[in-house]
Amino acid sequence: MTRRVRLGLFLVAGAGLAVVLLLGFGGLPSFGHAHELDGAVVNLDEPTLRHATDVVTALNFDLRAFDTLGEEFILFASVTGVALLLRTLRQEEEEDQEITPGIEDHRFAGASDGVKLTSLLLIPLLIAFGAYLVFHGQLTPGGGFQGGVVLAAGPIAVLLAGRYLSMKRIAPKRLLEVSDALGAAAYGLIGLGGLIFTGVYLEDPLPLGVSGQLLSAGMMPLNSIAVGLEVTGAFLLTWTQFFDQTLVGPPSGS
């Protein structure tokens, strides 16, 4: 197909698709009239039966915990895929060895002193905030997914401070792979605890504690930590894989 034919076909088809979708959307309940059954059940059950005060986390780690397991592994499979696709071929390995000795640090050295200083100041703050989000998942908005992304931003700040190789020393690829894999597997293993101690997969065998305390809501804090571990590893691994392709190795001009 020529560009023109393709565009024509897509415009017609896209318009048709839009009409089909809009006809379907016409049947949606009007604003403010949604089915509230699930919402009511969740709001009622989770704080009383599970002692969780953040209902979103409770939904993810309790009612729909099996979906979260699947989603964890979508992320894990994607990151493993990235590691597979951006792996160093043997031929490239030889090329790299010729070039690497020349590199003291990386080519992202253009940052101003202001950016470098701010980045250095940000590192402890990011890590503290990320850890807070992970550990308070069942209490306040946040949890392993959100906290993991913030935690991963910590080492990225090292990169912004102009020290990519230092960042790779703090968070080497092997460590990230292990943290990614360990977090993913840990989530599955926590559920297995339910199977062993209560007879049902993902059921909560732990004491529920006092609502609002750091250690409450049964397995949820553990789930949150597992997810946080995986997400931190997954994001850092993906980023470093891409940085390796662009920041290290032969200058793009040659």
Binding site: F10, D38, A77, T80, L84, R87
Partner: protein
């Protein structure tokens, strides 16, 4: 026993990360044995679940969130023999593919094995779950692993492009399905399939339900590669490593068809009951187009993996027809045929893998006569071709006979038998032609489109080219799979048993009872279908047709050249146009995808309202 229900998903979810985490220092034998053991364990567990669900199917509620007053708020695995059986079948093929890979290529740091296990977890979860959102989640697990496995050979460009086409097309299908899940949730406030079905059953189908149905069906049929949503499949199969192709063609594509059947009978059969005839017409039409276009494209290929891929598209068309007949007998045929076709196709891909491993090319003409070095593989390929053609009385034939019986039982659909025969003869014939040319050196050594020979060159490993030997395992595994096709359909009670369980599957009134209320639903009594003399005749015609088609492909050049010039030219033009559509351009593919979805969506809205 039901305590074990979650383990078939969990085992690969634990073994996969372990392989990835220790991959960089673990030796190859560790990866191989852990992955194979995990696959075997999953297969065994799925078989146990199927046995446990045989007297009456049951739901397993994650986290103990059982439905209260018939309202499901948790996630269930809704396990019946059909779902668990399909999961077990996926397990068998993963095991076979892993054993085949032992000697096939140098796998990289546990990543290949880890992704294969994640892929398996996705397929097994997909087959077992009873929750609509969870179904789409497992669709994505399956996809994420499959995309990466397709692009495994990163040292070349083509695998990356094939994987990108696969990823983009299937991701768009995923979006469409999430929209549909949102629509159904807004309407019913439920995500459990049984509960959605129960909530919808008392109402007419309105545009919201019809659009949700179209998006879900076409989303899953994108994975199943129905025309015109199929373009990604041949590109992905052409470049993916052989053990991965085995799973794509053998079971992943069929899972798309399974999801359509499950959703129809659980969710949409109630509201669409008054329009069953229209649904049947629309999706049989889609199936026929898929079957015929796939068969034609299959016969036109010289790249053997592409040829097998188009044959899969063609057979998916047949399966779709079987589902769309909306009868228990038709779906029984589909169930039997999925097993027969899946094992046959897996074995054929493994034979192609032997050629790649040995000669580093998969081009039919380049390989002319070179297969004489491995005559056993030629024999396997010929047997596979005849099984693909549905030669009596083996498993593929049994499935096809049920499909034929179901078609002639419905007034106005008897002509489908001709479609099945054409599909069987052309796809079987194409493979038989390859076997004749490669292993016997029959027919000319130079063919049309010589420029395609380059695209068929493929190295199994990064550093190694052609090899002078073929490991025994690489012949043994496909041979065992073919023995399976020869034997399974002939086991007394296998086919009638399948019919009974499939009739349970289509009893949509019972599904909410056993899922939401824990009722013990007994297995229905079904009079087993008899295979008539006509069926044997149709089977014989398909097999003879395949031999004739192969002969035409090998020795038909003088015949073609004796045709009048004008006829020949218009034939060539038509072939050129159809070929040109499959050009690897992702923009084209998405344009066709949108056209297909809007067209079928429009037809459904008009015909079913």
């Amino acid at each position: 026993m039901s305590h074990l229900s979650a383990l078939p998903v969990l085992v690969p979810f634990l073994a996969g990360p372990l392989l990835v985490a220790v991959g960089f220092f673990a030796p190859r034998w560790f990866d191989d044995s852990l992955a194979t053991l995990a696959a075997l364990a999953v297969t065994t567990l799925c078989v146990l679940l199927a046995v446990h669900a045989a007297p009456h199917p049951y739901a397993y509620w994650m986290g103990g969130w059982r439905p209260q007053h018939g309202v499901a708020i948790g996630i269930s695995l809704s396990i019946d023999v059909t779902g668990a059986g399909l999961a077990a079948f996926a397990g068998v093929l993963v095991t076979a593919a892993l054993v085949y890979s032992l000697r096939y290529f140098d796998a990289i740091e546990g990543l290949f094995h880890g992704l294969m296990l994640l892929f398996m977890a996705g397929m097994v979860g997909f087959a077992l779950t009873g929750d609509l959102f969870n179904l789409v989640v497992f669709f994505e697990v399956m996809s994420a692993a499959a995309f990466a496995l397709t692009a495994y050979r990163i040292e070349e460009r083509a695998p990356i492009q094939g994987a990108l086409n696969f990823a983009i097309t299937n991701s768009i299908a995923g979006y469409a399905m999430f929209i549909a899940v949102g629509l159904l949730y807004a309407r019913t406030g439920a995500l459990n399939m049984a509960q959605i079905g129960a909530a919808l059953s008392s109402h007419h189908a309105d545009p919201l339900v019809i659009v949700a149905m179209t998006l879900l069906f076409l989303g899953f049929l994108t994975k199943a590669a129905a025309v015109p949503l199929h373009f990604w499949l041949a590109d992905a199969h052409a470049v993916a490593p052989v053990p991965v192709c085995v799973l794509f063609s053998g079971v992943m594509v069929e899972l798309g068809v399974y999801a359509v059947a499950r959703l129809y009978w659980v969710v949409f059969a109630g509201p669409l009951a008054p329009h069953a005839a229209a649904v049947r017409a629309i999706f049989v039409g889609l199936g026929v187009v898929t079957a015929l276009l796939g068969a034609a494209m299959c016969f036109l290929q010289r790249h053997i993996k592409r040829l097998l891929a188009f044959s899969t598209i063609s057979h998916v068309g047949m399966l779709l027809c079987g589902v769309a007949l909306l009868s228990g007998q038709g779906l029984s045929g589909v169930a039997v045929y999925v097993v027969g076709h899946g094992l046959t196709k897996a074995a054929l891909f493994m034979c192609a893998g032997v050629l790649l491993h040995r000669f580093a090319t998969i081009d039919e003409y380049e390989l002319h006569g070179r297969g004489r070095e491995v005559p056993v593989v030629g024999g396997l390929m010929a047997v596979g071709a005849l099984l693909l053609a549905g030669i009596p009385p083996f498993t593929t034939f049994m499935g096809k006979s049920l499909l034929e019986a179901a078609s002639s039982a419905l007034p106005g659909y008897g002509w489908l038998i001709a479609v099945y025969i054409v599909v069987s003869a052309m796809t079987g014939g194409a493979v038989l032609r390859v076997a004749g040319r490669v292993f016997l050196g029959w027919g000319p050594a130079e063919g049309p489109h010589p420029e395609q020979a380059r695209a068929a060159q493929e190295r199994v490993d990064e550093e190694r080219g052609p090899r002078g030997h073929t490991p025994v395992l690489m012949v043994l595994v496909p041979a065992l799979l073919l023995v399976g096709v020869l034997v399974l359909g002939l086991i007394p009670g296998a086919v009638p048993g399948t019919e009974r369980y499939v009739h349970q599957f289509v009893a949509h009134g019972n599904y909410p009872a056993w899922v939401l209320h824990g009722a013990r639903v007994a297995l229905p009594h079904v009079a087993p279908s008899h295979i008539s003399a006509e069926d044997y005749a149709y089977g014989a015609i398909s097999a003879v047709g395949a031999v004739l088609a192969a002969g035409l492909g090998l020795f038909g050049r003088p015949l073609r050249e004796s045709l009048p010039a004008r006829l020949r030219r218009s034939g060539q033009n038509a072939v050129g146009v159809v070929r040109g559509l499959h050009n690897g351009h992702i923009g084209d593919y998405i344009a066709w995808w949108s056209a297909g979805v809007s067209l079928i969506g429009g037809i459904c809205l008009i015909a079913l309202h």
